[in-house]
Symmetry: C2
Subunit: 335 residues, 2 copies
Amino acid sequence: MNERDIIEILSCRNSEGRPDLLRGIGDDCAVIAGNGGQSWLVTMDTLVEDVHFDLRWHPPDKLGRKAIAVNVSDIAAMGGRPAFIFLSLGLPRQFDSAWLDRFAEGISGACREYGCVLAGGDTVRSREGVLLTVTVIGQMPADQVVYRSGALPGDEIWVSGTLGRAAAGLELCAGGGSQGDEGMKSLVEAHLDPQPRVVLGRLLAEHNVAHAMMDLSDGLATDLSHLCGQSGVGADVYAASLPSLPALHDAADLLKKNPLDLMIKGGEDYELIFTAAAAAGSRIAGIARQAGVILSRVGTIVHRQGVRLIVPAAGESEQKEVDISFAGFDHFPQE
Amino acid sequence: MNERDIIEILSCRNSEGRPDLLRGIGDDCAVIAGNGGQSWLVTMDTLVEDVHFDLRWHPPDKLGRKAIAVNVSDIAAMGGRPAFIFLSLGLPRQFDSAWLDRFAEGISGACREYGCVLAGGDTVRSREGVLLTVTVIGQMPADQVVYRSGALPGDEIWVSGTLGRAAAGLELCAGGGSQGDEGMKSLVEAHLDPQPRVVLGRLLAEHNVAHAMMDLSDGLATDLSHLCGQSGVGADVYAASLPSLPALHDAADLLKKNPLDLMIKGGEDYELIFTAAAAAGSRIAGIARQAGVILSRVGTIVHRQGVRLIVPAAGESEQKEVDISFAGFDHFPQE
């Protein structure tokens, strides 16, 4: 039983809708109809110590920021503004109060940065380790919400920033290599303190440019497969167009990893992936400048189902086409 | 550092409000201003295996129901209607898929019962044991919301149902005594499958009867201390007026516990406690009939701070007055 099976079991019995639930399970956020032309966005994510983070290298303030950021990223992925934060904090019987102070600083810093307020939550004892569940409620004009389900054949596929940074950063931390040069440090920072693309998501929604959008949390291959599944389409991704930092290739050498694997399967980049009509290219370039974010065209939406990676010919080998559908992170991989 | 200290550290740094957050940390729910005279209520609770529940005796469907019910109870405690459920489910690497099926049945049964829909959440791997975090969003007319902070000196204090059942039921389960007579079984059921007082809470709010209200989750002594603290008042509670089932006294005998201790310190009854003007007695009796719930007058709100239990003279001993402020459950008791 994998993660999608578990979600299927939980959701299929609960499909009787309410008319004010505009979108339930299956997108970055649930969408609830408000009044006055506004919709509410709701998302919830859990981080478990030693599954999602490691306190040996994750400073408490950055962990607090990250717990907020990964949820804010889901709000950004639909084009919304985050507003209210709810935090459930599980702590073991013995914990360090200085740690808690710095964690709380991270939470409050992130709240200020994203214009949110901590509005509630819960405090419980864990059996062992730190448990973090955050719910973020956001808001946006109802007619601007960007779903995963709007991709159309012929659309171009765009991603923000560069890929594989967080996955490489995690491997560097695990290998004790966080003392590298500036490039390596930026990979580690991408893992410790991700920056959700709130301004970019808002602009894309406001200008009605993105047909479908989501954030990259489980890796491009898996996340794009979700987007394509929801839209009833497929995708061709051009390996040569995937954006990466030079430091990613240095890190891949050091880690003896394939950099392309880090870019397509590595999770937690919290960049946005979206599709748009080919004619929208110049408007998208303008939005990228306004948001101060690099955007790259990485592929095309096609009729045929599945996500295909197209790797260019190198030396004597021919161009390869590889099916990478759902080739990303799964909490419950099938044996 | 106790539970209240932790909440203080988290909340004091995040006090800069948003005007649309009508109530943040410190009540049963956060209250968010909607449009059209409606407010949104939001609550979040986490249940951790072996801290909050024990799978040796907690059937999966009842655990699913309880994870929803304890949150729905917070919505009821302000007078609201639950609407949207978000579930974060943490499971260990190995788990039983039949268990998950029955758990999902419990979730969907509770959703139907309370008129809610499962709208989202998260699925993660835990280090060990089952982790459950639920967020419930409810709705109600903005001018009917009942806060903890409205109690006035001279108010009568009311509780619904009977007290100490869930605490006795938990002790019976832990002692392997769930095979008792019908009375004992009802205690065990109160622990396994609590019934939040949604109809009662709604009626009290709608008829504008309750000055202050909350649900009993950490025991009467602690919860009433919170209500009094928020209202800037104190309370006298009459031990002889506290409602209990005959089975509670049988169970207390069996468990060698003081039944009064179970009633004032026992958590998880999920009954409502509220205060109202003395003149409202007959209207409250009518609401109790309409909701099909027994309501008992158990004390009086006073000017003096603190919660005092008044135990009547018995035999040669005189009437006793005991300060029971915050004498309930704390996840992080001070050593």
